[in-house]
Structures are given as C-alpha cells and as structure tokens.
Symmetry: C2
Subunit: 124 residues, 2 copies
Amino acid sequence: MISLDFRDSRSIYEQICDKVKKLILEGALSEGDKIMSVRELASSLTINPNTIVKAYKQLENEGYIYSVQGKGYFVAGRKSAAKDADFGALFDTARATLSELCFLGTEKDTVTRMVDDIWKEMKR
Amino acid sequence: MISLDFRDSRSIYEQICDKVKKLILEGALSEGDKIMSVRELASSLTINPNTIVKAYKQLENEGYIYSVQGKGYFVAGRKSAAKDADFGALFDTARATLSELCFLGTEKDTVTRMVDDIWKEMKR
DNA sequence: TAACTGTACTATTACATATAATACAGTATA
DNA sequence: TATACTGTATTATATGTAATAGTACAGTTA
C-alpha cells in the first residue's frame, strides 16, 4: 500500500505525505475512510511513529485528513482540501514545471494529452 | 536582478537555482551570456560565496550553465539542458501538481489556457 | 604585476530530520 | 471494569544538510 524509496532524496515524512495524498487523488481513499493509524503505519514501515505524526499533521493542515481522539485519522472531503489549499503555490509550481518542459523541447500536444487524461480519469 | 525571499522556506541555494533558471527560460539570459560571478553575486546578496557555488554547480549538472576557469559561468544551450534533463521527474511533478489542481476543482479550461500561454510566449 | 575569475579545502554553527522512550487522554470492546 | 487500541505531548539524542568563515591555488585579462 505505502512503501518508502531510500534512493529518493526527499525526507521520509514528505514521501508519506505524497503517497497518502496520491491515494486520495486517485480515489483509492474516499471521504470518511479511516486511514492506517500512526503506530500501525510506523511499524509497517519500520520507522518512528513521530515521523508518521509529522506527515499526518501536514496533511491535516492541508485539509486532506482530520483526526478524532482515540479513533484515528480519516479522509476529509474535497471542500475541506480546497478551502485550505494554496492555489497560488500550486499554479506557480505548475507554471514553472511546464515552462521548463517547453524550453527543453517537449511538444505541446504531449502536455495537452496529459491534461486531457487527468481531467478524464479523475472521478469528480 | 536576483533577490532572496526570507519568508520562503526553501534553502537559499535552491532559490538561486530557480531564479537563474527562470531568467534562462524567460529568455532574459541567452546562450553564451556571462552570468554574475560567484563573488559578485554573493556580495550583492550579502551571502557566502560557497552558497552561490553550490547553486551554480547544480545548474551545471542540469546542463543549464557551464564554467570556464578564470573567466566565469556562461549560459549553455537548450540541447545541453535537454541532454542532462530528468524528463521522468519533470513529468511526475507536472502530473502530480495538475492532478491536485483537478481534484481541488480547477476548471480544465483554466489549465489549458495556461499551457497555451506558455507555449505561445516561449521563444524557441 | 594587479585584479579579476573558478576551484578546493577545513572548521564551525545552526537547523531540520529522525529516532527513542515515556506519559496522558479519549474510544471501543470483551 | 479492564484491556487494548486510538491520538497527543514531551524530552533527549544522533545525524545530515545548509550556511558561514577563512584560506589557498590556478587560470584569465588588462
């Protein structure tokens, strides 16, 4: 379900953030679903629980999940994430990455096709 | 020309990398142009020369600039950057960012317009 | 020769990451 | 009620990266 890549230069908690977020974006995790507990995921990945806490706290700040004392962490809804999202930063990242791909010779059709695929596959 | 944002959580050398790269992508710096020397940019930003070296070395590894002993750093050509680029990582970043924007309710037209603008404005 | 360039190295400080261990509070269930 | 889960909080420690400081050497230009 969730695994770590030790060749990845990013920090462990960042990788966990991205993996959980990806599961939510893909629809593998839906609103209200309970996700793995802090201790459960930590022992599953053989890492420290505090590292999971750090990742979950960040996803909570981004509005993607929420916690309930004694019960666990659950997936929040799209509205929650949209309310807390930093659209400025997201568009900046998108613009910078696409500009670089353009500069490096990527065909516009290639990118347009990618956009089409994403907006078609995403269940909304 | 190049400035630092201390509210930015990213490291200084990363910010410098991105700013120089942005100038190249925008066409403000063209192939063969000499860029600010290590010591010149360091004293201009009131930071340590070693930090500039780190940023320039990374841009050199990405094929965006090259150095000549005793003369300085110069802007390399598109082919040089394209040869060293990690297209897999770039497309991964693009896909992840665009998927998140889609999930958060961004209209496809908004993104398509952004792509059109980038491929139109970029002088190739 | 003098004043620039890049390059290389050591030492030091500061900060973020990750681990370890412990404790407390809320929830669910036998 | 007792037990075993949940999240939360705290302190301490080790490690690696980022950034600074200083020095030195080699190539280029005027």
